[in-house]
Subunit: 383 residues, 2 copies
Amino acid sequence: MRVLIMGGDGYLGWPTAMDLADRGHDVCVIDNYLRRTIALQTRSEALMPQPDLTRRAEIFGSVFGKQVRVVIGDCASYATLQKVFEEFRPEAAVHYAEQPSAPYSMIGQDEARLTVTNNLNTTLNLAWAVMQHAPECRIIKLGTMGEYGTPNIDIEEGWIEIEHKGRKDTFLFPRQTGSLYHTTKIFDTDMLWFYVRTFGLAVTDLMQGPVYGLSTPQSDADQRLLPNFHYDDIFGTVVNRFLVQAVQGVPLTVYGKGGQVRGYLNINDTLQCIRLALENPADHGELRILNQFTETFSVTQLAERVQRVGEQMGLPVEIQRIENPRKEAEEHYYNPAHSGLLELGLEPHYLTDGVVASMLEQVLRHKDRIDEDKILPRVRWKT
Amino acid sequence: MRVLIMGGDGYLGWPTAMDLADRGHDVCVIDNYLRRTIALQTRSEALMPQPDLTRRAEIFGSVFGKQVRVVIGDCASYATLQKVFEEFRPEAAVHYAEQPSAPYSMIGQDEARLTVTNNLNTTLNLAWAVMQHAPECRIIKLGTMGEYGTPNIDIEEGWIEIEHKGRKDTFLFPRQTGSLYHTTKIFDTDMLWFYVRTFGLAVTDLMQGPVYGLSTPQSDADQRLLPNFHYDDIFGTVVNRFLVQAVQGVPLTVYGKGGQVRGYLNINDTLQCIRLALENPADHGELRILNQFTETFSVTQLAERVQRVGEQMGLPVEIQRIENPRKEAEEHYYNPAHSGLLELGLEPHYLTDGVVASMLEQVLRHKDRIDEDKILPRVRWKT
């Protein structure tokens, strides 16, 4: 199957490309290094060195004997994306090509504009490229569990039937987010849903929780193929920050009360989910929404988990509550459904002590590269 | 009160500017003639001649002795909008600065992109200009009843309490539209709601139905101050098309079954609603949503109304059903709430036979300017 990975240089884009190419798919990646550029501008570079995409493809080719096509280009340019569609004629497109940082989208007007313009245009261009050049192409779009926010009712998988004053209808589940970035992800979903119901696109929207993990079969074979590991306040996840703080011997910084619950998953489960979505495609005219996570933790639970495993490894780990730089509920109801991917066959890898230990070991090997200035919050939800 | 009208050259922008200036407010309009440019490009010019904005302000000044400040500039440029905020320091901003045509947004990729980019950036820039330069400034944003679409449940005014599996929460009313343009209006609402709840903006979102009417106290005083009257398939409303078809002696073209019900209002009621929103501002941290229409009609009912009045005036009027160029429900449930503005004091002007007759008379005076090529659908909801 010819699969186009938009945003193929990213934390998930590159591992997805390797996973699918390794399984015999014909894979093309496109990326304009937007994340690397922003990381450089905001002093938020990843912990481990990252060969550029062309070099990564060369290394992957030499180790696995499989080719990944590389296009360096901007998916927010329709001319660029059209050219790729005309030449590669993808049968499926996996859309990761977004400015992915919530804190970045909250820095200022320029960053807000970049986030809105980039994320809306990459999605709009994808819809049009499919309609004009590859009408059979299946779209797999990465959404985020953050679109739902933390409502006081159970979160369903994308859709909800509402009974109101004696009548009923089914709607997209109401969504209300905690950052402008997450708000652009709502726009993505609404825009694709418009083109799905109007022109019959076939879209799977994977509402993903925060992903952790550095180890995939491909990166285990050659460390130069490691996924990007960001631990900074802009691109880093809370899991990565805690791992680096534990290794560095500084306190794990919990934002506010630490009762923020989210659904997490292992990077290998993301790869499984993408495969399941490819192998079980949505129908034309269908927007299928799947909630993509395997277990939920509060921030405090994560901190305590990293503390316990770190101490077993001889690392002295403290936990410290700091003022929350974000505006968000620090204690809330959270009960999101996530049966769709399990029904498709997902076999979860959970966040065991062993998984935490192996991530800590990987970070320990790069301890000399940790820059403490990158860890604490530099962006606040203020004007 | 210093009031900034963004999109001050539009069908509603200019009458709003005159109405507020006439009542003693200090009014500044900004517009980059985007609608005029698109109208020229798509051969969709208005029926009556439209002096440019500077000339309109001169005419208005000479007739009413009041000044309207004019800025020719693009609200989608943050530098431009910032400069206006710094110099004029508005206490309220009325946001009409959007690409307003649903058919235009459906022409092709370029038009889709322009609609998304313009409409999202004008709204984003407004939020930021207020946050950075005029934190007390009240925002009045024109939404559209089209954001709600035609759900099978009663439409509330912006918000709905959902009870689900024994728990409750309040959300923005679910919205699902019939065009990309309308979808960008959903984005506007979601984006402003994000900045309202995160940074305390004070926003009134007026979900307006199609507006009709050419007569306001200011345009009655001098015909050069008439609102723009578009009767084409791109910018024209169904009411305007029917009026022109009746005058021209060609059949009124009903799209499909004609059972599409919408909420309509007179342009003088739009002016009242803007005043009511200005005089009764939303609180900081509040997104107040008001459904802005006074009565509902199906397309067939409108056609029959124009036919009846036209025949009373000696115009032979036929009604003809044609293939619907849009994808939309042609028969549907429709019961939208609209009590909020009535409670604030709105005194509706209804679409009486007299009002229809006076609009027909105004169009008759310009019959020689009608271009029949502009009336029938040129844009179809197809790729």
